[in-house]
Amino acid sequence: MTAEHPDRGPLDRTELARLVARDIPPRSYVNLGIGQPTAVADHLDPARGIVLHTENGMLGMGPQAHGDEVDPDLLNAGKIPVTELPGAAYFDHAQSFAMMRGGHLDVCVLGAFQVAADGTLANWHTGAPDAIPAVGGAMDLAVGAKDVFVMMTLFDKAGAPKLVRGCTYPVTGLQCVSRIYTDLAVFHLTAGRVRVAETYGTTLADLRTRLDVELEPIG
């Protein structure tokens, strides 16, 4: 059954980050993408033993560095100074991306412009003719992590749905997203099926009228 919460508003950004953090399995190796996904780190309970990976070459990344902790040689993928936790390890870029492609990373959390019902992800390029293409590690993360979680608003600023039948933006990876966390609902994607796990400020019936994809309640 879908857990529906129609009597409250949509999730705000903090609540969304908390929800993603709740669903990351204990003792997993996790990469949090630049931007909104970074906030998930604030809600991970240290007792659950989750190890953060940053693609510029570190496992065991700690919180953002402040004051005396700032070290110009210790940055995250967003080039923000961070700290190291006991048990941390440093490695070069080839090894860092081998961890992704080789299937060693359990979860990555990414933002998105669009996700298709089959899990195809578009998050790197608007496709505008004057836009400078810039991909970073997005394509490597999309194909490499065992589970790809997306955090996004369900509708864009113009009101168009971002969970779509087929991506119109240039794609990042094919059939790679396993879950989508949005302000209005959480979706589980498996083999072309979209199952709705939770709703916030809306209902499954309402979402069915607003999205052009087949929605199923979770079993």
Binding site: E55, L74, A94, P133, V143
Partner: protein, 219 residues
């Protein structure tokens, strides 16, 4: 055998016009600023530069680009809030851009250093960045053929070198250094300090001295 150069200008001598130059660093960490400045002063032109980004602000790589002596840049993420030097050159058609997923960029450099003629990777399959490239289905998954990036010169930053050219790095400053060191005919490292032969624990060496041609201490 490694040469300890007296200053950055001596360290970069002899870099010819038309060279392909690998430049280490991810953000300020591991950027060989002194060597980049020396390369700019050397007047070498028609360069192809390989770096994760396309310069920030007006210093380092951005200052090199501003001279107009870089014909092409190969990177994963050229578009940043302070990459205006590159953006102006690109908009004016004065620099060629090749964007590669970050892990493919790293692995192409690694492959060059390891004598590998190319490799098939799932990263980028089905995307714009794989258009026109050979593909092969391996274990039911589409892989894209990527070619090595061989270079004439690598400019990297490490923390400590010994008299045999062995290098150790510091924290996330390691990033591209170890793979770039292997992929160029001439590898030049700027370091914080040197120690005599025997001053580094052989078990802790990250880049063996066989890959390093010149070292300069820049503090």
């Amino acid at each position: 055998m490694v040469e300890i150069a007296p200053d950055p200008d001596a360290a970069v001598r002899g870099i010819a016009d038309g060279s392909t130059v690998l430049i280490g660093g991810f953000g300020p960490a591991g950027q060989p600023y002194a060597l980049i400045d020396a390369l700019r002063r050397s007047g070498a032109g028609d360069l192809t530069v390989v770096n994760n980004n396309a310069g920030n602000g007006t210093t380092g790589l951005a200052a090199l680009l501003a001279t107009g002596r870089v014909r092409k840049i190969i990177c994963s993420f050229p578009r940043q809030t302070d990459s205006f030097v590159f953006e102006e050159l690109y908009a004016a058609g004065r620099i060629e851009l090749e964007v590669a997923p970050q892990g493919n960029l790293a692995e192409r450099i690694r492959a060059a250093g390891a004598g590998i003629g190319g490799f098939y990777t799932p990263t980028g399959a089905g995307t714009m960045l794989a258009e026109g490239k050979e593909t092969r289905t391996i274990d039911g998954r589409v892989h894209v053929l990527e070619h090595p990036i061989r270079a004439d010169v690598a400019l990297i930053r490490a923390h400590t070198a010994d008299g045999a050219g062995n290098l150790v790095y510091r924290k996330t400053g390691r990033n591209f250094g170890p793979i770039m060191a292997t992929a160029a005919r001439l590898t030049i490292a700027e370091v914080t300090r040197t120690v005599p032969v025997g001053g580094l624990d052989p078990e802790a060496v990250v880049t063996p001295g066989i890959f390093v041609d010149r070292v300069v201490v820049t503090g």
